[in-house]
């Protein structure tokens, strides 16, 4: 009997960590095949890509804690990237009348504001009209995409990719933070670290954070306990929107251009990362550290597969399977045995 119990426990551990086991095995294989995968430049590359995708995951994490989701994220990143790239440029195609690039802090505030606005629309519809976040963010996703396309048609741009960004914008984002043995670490890594700390404080140290978890785990009880459920939901979505705005701002300079496809499918990566990192769809469960680990793991596996020259089309399939298996494992953890 005891042996059977033991066996079951081992099985439990294996299944609950199936995801990590697969990733670990894959990393070992990749390292054997291509030792340079664990080289310094490769590691720095993984860390900076993780940093680039972290803010958006931090934003979506809050929505998932509320048992919701946000699939408008990628398009909001696209819109804010286009806005940044159109204002902080040397070739004024969207606004032909502009003489010089707009001030950097102003643009940053503007894109954060745009993100917050979309987040407010999402949050308000979810909180006030009790629509499912999936439906709401699906429609805002489409609306934002339409706005991007129209925005890119403005002036003399005619839908082209925006490039020719100003130097101080590019250096503000991609400039060298410090170098380790000749490998440069870009500045946006620092920004991602700052955002992570800020989000950790918001989630763990503020009334809003505690309320968010309460609403996520039992909305009815939260209402009875005197939590302002509507405000909490709206604020979670607005905070997420701000994160997308910042991501857009960073991404414009990181990729050195912005077009209608910038940010496409970012939300998929972010949601996958959150679920891998233990932010549960059960609601009311999640940690910032988990999200960071989730983004990092996802980045490691995909950089590794890229090292093996696995085709991008196959990566999509693998990504989809990873989301499925992460959900199944997540569900398993909270399922009561019958």
């Amino acid at each position: 009997m005891a042996e059977k119990d033991k066996l079951r426990k081992v099985g439990d551990i294996l299944l609950n960590n199936a995801m990590y086991i697969i990733i670990a095995v894959a990393v070992v294989y990749i390292t054997i095949m291509r030792p340079s995968f664990l080289g310094l430049s490769s590691i720095v590359n993984i860390i900076s890509l993780t940093a680039a995708k972290l803010p958006i995951a931090l934003g979506i994490g809050g929505c998932i804690v509320l048992t919701g989701t946000d699939i408008s994220a990628g398009r909001v990143v696209g819109l804010t990237a286009c806005i940044s790239a159109s204002l902080l440029t040397t070739a004024f195609k969207v606004f032909p009348n502009m003489a010089s690039a707009a001030p950097l802090p102003l643009v940053l505030l503007l894109v954060i504001g745009v993100g917050a606005l979309v987040g407010f629309v999402n949050g308000f519809s979810v909180a006030k009209f009790k629509l499912h976040p999936f439906i709401v963010t699906l429609s805002t996703q489409l609306i934002v995409y339409g706005i991007i396309l129209m925005y890119l048609m403005r002036g003399v741009n005619n839908g082209q990719t925006l490039s020719g960004l100003t130097d101080n914008y590019r250096s503000f984002v991609t400039g060298t933070l410090f170098t380790i043995r000749g490998v440069a670490v870009p500045k946006y890594v620092l920004y991602a670290v700052i955002l992570t700390v800020v989000m950790w404080i918001i989630w763990n140290k503020t009334t809003f954070g505690k309320n968010m978890f309460a609403v996520g785990s039992n909305e009815e009880a939260a209402n009875v306990s005197g939590v302002n459920v509507m405000r909490t939901i709206i604020m979670v979505f607005m905070l997420a929107g701000m994160m997308y705005g910042i991501t857009g701002f960073l991404d414009g300079a990181r990729i050195a251009s912005a077009n209608a496809n910038t940010g496409l499918n970012y939300e998929c990566d972010a949601i996958a990362a959150c679920v891998i990192g233990g932010v549960s769809f059960v609601g009311g469960i999640g940690r910032i550290s988990g999200i960071v680990v989730g983004v990092l793991l996802l980045q490691i596996i995909f950089t590794g597969l890229n090292f093996l020259a696995v085709d991008a089309n196959m990566l999509y399939i693998i990504k989809g399977l990873i989301i499925l298996i992460a959900c199944a494992i997540d569900m398993r953890k909270y399922l009561v045995r019958k």
């Binding site: 020259a309 196959m314 399922l335 009561v336």
Partner: protein
């Protein structure tokens, strides 16, 4: 203390109702079938990775934008492309390969390394 802990976990297991909420509120599945699902998905991921690795290689395509056709190439990560035969086009002079159609981001054929599947566009100058 230990016994107390034991008691609590026992209570949890005999709880008469499921306590899932959120997106899983309507999930009605046994742990056993979930185990099978997880194993099947894990196997599927491994299979996809194996297929991906065995078909490894990034396809580099060349779009000559109206010039003579150039055959696509397959490369592993970190390789440089083999310099293809320069295409020709009536009334234009070929001036190298670019990452975009507008010929703004040039590709250094001898030094740039392949990191993903991509299409290179020919740059043309009026003769």
């Amino acid at each position: 203390m230990e016994e107390q802990e034991k008691n609590y976990s026992k209570q949890r297991e005999t709880a008469p109702q499921r306590q899932l909420r959120g997106l899983y509120a309507k999930v009605n599945i046994s742990v056993k079938s979930l185990n099978i699902i997880i194993l099947v998905l894990a196997a599927a991921i491994v299979v996809c990775m194996v297929i991906g690795v065995s078909n490894a290689g990034f396809i580099v395509q060349f779009d000559t934008l109206g010039g003579t056709a150039v055959e696509s190439q397959k490369h592993m990560y970190g390789e440089v492309i083999e310099s293809p035969e320069p295409p020709s086009r009536e009334g234009y002079v070929f001036d190298g390969w670019y990452l975009d159609q507008d010929a703004t981001r040039p590709w250094d054929v001898d030094n740039d390394i392949v990191t993903e599947s991509m299409t290179l566009y020919a740059g043309w100058r009026l003769r």
